[in-house]
């Protein structure tokens, strides 16, 4: 299908094509047919997983007050989905502002900036929708199959939600841009997006740690909501939930509100977005501290030069640090869930401590990837009179210090609880970090530094191996903390994974040189 060049539909098609290419990039060099097979198998698998959920819900549906079950279920889903969609929109809008890609070309063209923004926003909404739909649609389909077609109202409600969230994400991004300026918005936007995205899971856990009386009050308010209260399902906050429940007037209203908000945001903010994108491109580099004005004495030696270079590059890129810390934030809810599931008798040694081991291994992997695979000037290093092994060894040494800085606080916190657990955790953190760093050394995946969290798109295999190493070391840590002899098995499994990934003869190596 071809659209009139320069039209809104033409711009949307252009953005969607780029989005599709990015999606295809996740699968590496696989052929379109193979990708289609993987997608079909994935869709079937997710439907199979959702099958018992549909059956279970349909069984409950018949025996209980429909509304009593239906609304909390949809409300929970909405509380999970909406922050996720807003977070995605915020991330994608910030990315569009900073790594503008083709925006320079588009803004230099005589097309109206509001059309360009609207097309971009449309693509962002579709991409965000896709990331949620892959999990939600199978559940909806299975519920519709077993429980009735009224579940299908979730489809238009979800679509409207994606457009509402995208408009809100755009507004948030530009508000941050106005408040924080072009240099800081990228980092702050990322942090805000993460907090919003992980907010629901964290909020659920916060409820668990509230005093019992307050918790009971909240639960009672949910069960017996007062008219006009936060939990009154007839209130305006519940509009998306009522829309998803298939109440036609509310569904129409929610669609109207969402698409209206989206249209208004893109029309009103188009010019602002264009000027912000231009400002982000021309933002002057951060001012250096005045003390830097004095010229230092040059340091000597290869090792010092390489280590200092790595530390400087890392310390001067707050966006990169925020990306690495995202891994910590995403791991936290899981750790809290495990901790709470242990009840009052739960041991921090088998809840939070393994999460620290996982965090250590993931941060080490990220840092090792940054130092080894994401070298800014690989050709330059290759022309230096040093061997590749010398460079790699110094780079691995360099990641030790930032890793220690990331982990010092949690391990000290653990030590306050139990010195023994802290020591065991520290030992397994070192082992896990060393193994994932070695994996990244042995299997380099060249890429730009901004791709640190998407580095596995080049090699799913390395990603899987990395996660297996994290898992085995975390399990070994738990078993060691419990004093189990099975620790040896878990350590053996981790070492086995490492041995399986050992360096092959040089001919089979993927060289770092791009």
């Amino acid at each position: 299908m071809s659209f009139e060049p320069g039209s809104f539909a033409w711009l949307v098609a252009h953005d969607l094509r780029l989005g599709w290419r990015r999606f295809r990039g996740i699968f590496g060099s696989l052929r379109a047919r193979t990708i289609a097979i993987i997608i079909v198998v994935g869709v079937c698998l997710f439907h199979a997983i959702a099958w018992p959920i549909g059956q279970w819900f349909a069984g409950l549906d018949k025996s209980a007050d429909t509304a009593r079950l239906y609304y909390p279920a949809l409300a929970s889903a909405a509380l999970f989905v909406m922050p996720w969609l807003i977070s995605q929109a915020l991330t994608n809008s910030t990315r569009a502002l900073y790594s503008r890609g083709d925006l320079n070309l588009l803004f230099a063209s005589p097309l109206p900036s509001r059309n360009i923004l609207a097309a971009h926003a449309f693509a962002i909404a579709v991409e965000s929708l896709g990331s949620v739909a892959v999990l939600l649609v199978p559940v909806v389909n299975m519920n519709a199959w077993f429980g009735g077609p009224h579940w299908l109202a979730v489809y238009p409600a979800l679509l409207a939600s994606a457009f509402f969230a995208t408009a809100l994400g755009l507004c948030l991004t530009l508000a941050l841009f106005v408040m924080c300026g072009p240099r800081l918005t990228r980092v702050i936007g990322q942090v805000v997006a993460t907090i919003i995205g992980a907010g629901f899971v964290l909020a659920l856990q916060i409820i668990h740690v509230l005093p019992e009386r307050l918790r009971n009050d909240i639960i009672s308010s949910i069960d017996h909501p007062q008219p006009g209260s936060l939990f009154d399902r007839h209130g305006p906050l519940w509009l998306p939930v009522r829309a998803a429940a298939g109440q036609l007037p509310d569904l129409l209203l929610w669609c109207g509100v969402s698409f209206g908000f989206f249209a208004l945001a893109t029309i009103l903010l188009g010019h602002r977005f264009a000027s912000s994108a231009i400002r982000s491109a021309s933002a002057s580099p951060a001012r250096r501290a005045e003390r830097k004005r004095r010229t230092r004495i040059f340091r000597a030696g290869l090792a010092t030069s390489l280590r200092t270079k790595e530390w400087r590059l890392l310390a001067r890129d707050p966006w990169l640090i925020s990306q690495i810390l995202l891994q910590v934030i995403y791991t936290l809810p899981v750790a809290i869930v495990v901790w709470r599931s242990q009840g009052d008798e739960g041991s921090i040694g088998i809840s939070v401590a393994p999460a620290i081991v996982v965090i250590a291994s993931q941060i080490a992997a990220s840092l090792a990837w940054l130092a080894i695979s994401s070298e800014d000037a690989p050709d330059f290093l290759a022309t230096a009179p040093v061997t590749r092994q010398q460079v790699e060894r110094r780079k691995l040494e360099a990641i030790g210090l930032p890793l220690m800085m990331f982990l010092a606080l949690p391990i000290v916190g653990l030590a306050l609880y139990s010195l023994q657990v802290a020591i065991i955790t520290a030992i397994f953190c070192v082992a896990a970090s060393a193994s994932t760093a070695l994996l990244n050394l042995w299997h380099p995946m060249p890429g730009r530094r901004v791709q640190v969290l998407r580095r596995h798109s080049q090699s799913k295999f390395v990603g899987i191996m990395e996660h297996m190493l994290s898992l085995f070391w975390a399990v070994a840590m738990v078993l060691a903390a419990l004093g189990s002899a099975l620790t040896v098995l878990a350590i053996g499994a981790a070492l086995g994974v490492l041995w399986f990934n050992r360096p092959r003869p040089p001919a089979q190596y993927v060289r770092i040189i791009r």
């Binding site: 230092r296 040059f298 340091r299 000597a300 290869l302 270079k309 290759a382 230096a384 009179p385």
Partner: protein, 257 residues
């Protein structure tokens, strides 16, 4: 230029390539024989895709040749690459810099890699930054620099370890006229000090004015080599410019291709 050099007295060539061959499915460099004397300024010219950059990358140790030998001031670069790299610098057309380092830090890093004594490196860094008019920007991160400024920082990095062989791929791209003049003076001074320089450029006027000898490479082969006067004779155009000579020499190959 001729007054700066005494090529015949130099026993060991700065660079000697013999039977150099590289193929990426299609032949890029096809049995190239080339010799550059110590203290000589050599311009390597050729149309796009002729094999110039591939040749320089092989000399710099970034690409392993399929066949042939590379000798830099008598050091076999294939047998002892580290020793060869110690006396070589390569400046590609895209500056190889770190956005998050300032020029001084970059030079400190380069000096550390090449094992230059810190005090000497620091003095050289100050001198280079002043000559290249980068001194006022010494504490600014390279990410904010224009292409020309980045090119100057990279050039300072290539010169700080005082290489005996300097290879420059389009070094004057993005430089304003005044700085281009300074860069040319710097390069000439290096030649005077005995270093060999190989330069690729599309600005034929630069080759015409600076080079002692000019080599023209096409389809991975050296099709002509000599002083400008010798090339004019080969092309049969006694009073023409290098551009006319270049076009004349590469034209038959284009037709044949």
């Amino acid at each position: 230029m001729s007054e700066f050099r005494s090529p015949d007295t130099q026993a060991i060539p700065g660079l000697r390539l013999a039977g150099l061959r590289k193929s990426f499915g299609k032949v890029a460099v096809d049995g190239l024989d080339l010799s550059v004397r110590a203290g000589e300024f050599y311009a390597l010219l050729g149309p796009n895709g002729a094999g110039k950059t591939t040749t320089l990358r092989m000399v710099a140790g970034l690409l392993p040749p399929d066949e042939g030998s590379v000798q830099i001031f008598g050091v076999d670069a294939r047998r002892d690459p580290v020793a060869a790299k110690r006396i070589t610098a390569w400046l590609p057309d895209e500056p190889m810099l770190y956005d998050k380092l300032d020029p001084l830090e970059y030079l400190e890093f380069v000096a550390g890699l090449w094992g230059v004594e810190p005090k000497r490196a620091q003095d050289s860094a100050v001198e280079l930054l002043e000559v290249l008019e980068l001194w006022p920007h010494r504490h600014e991160l390279c990410e904010g620099f224009s292409r020309g400024m980045k090119q100057k920082v990279a050039l300072a990095g290539a010169l700080i370890h005082e290489p005996k062989l300097l290879m420059l791929d389009e070094p004057l791209t993005g430089l304003d006229a005044a700085i281009a003049r300074q860069v040319k003076d710097l390069l000439v001074a290096r030649c005077r000090a005995g270093a060999s320089i190989i330069l690729t450029t599309h600005i034929l006027e630069v080759a015409e004015r600076l080079a002692d000898r000019i080599g023209i490479i096409h389809h991975g082969k050296l099709i002509a080599e000599g002083t400008l006067a010798e090339l004019r004779e080969v092309a049969g155009q006694r009073n023409s410019s290098l551009e006319d000579v270049f076009l004349e020499l590469t034209r038959p190959m284009e037709r044949a291709a």
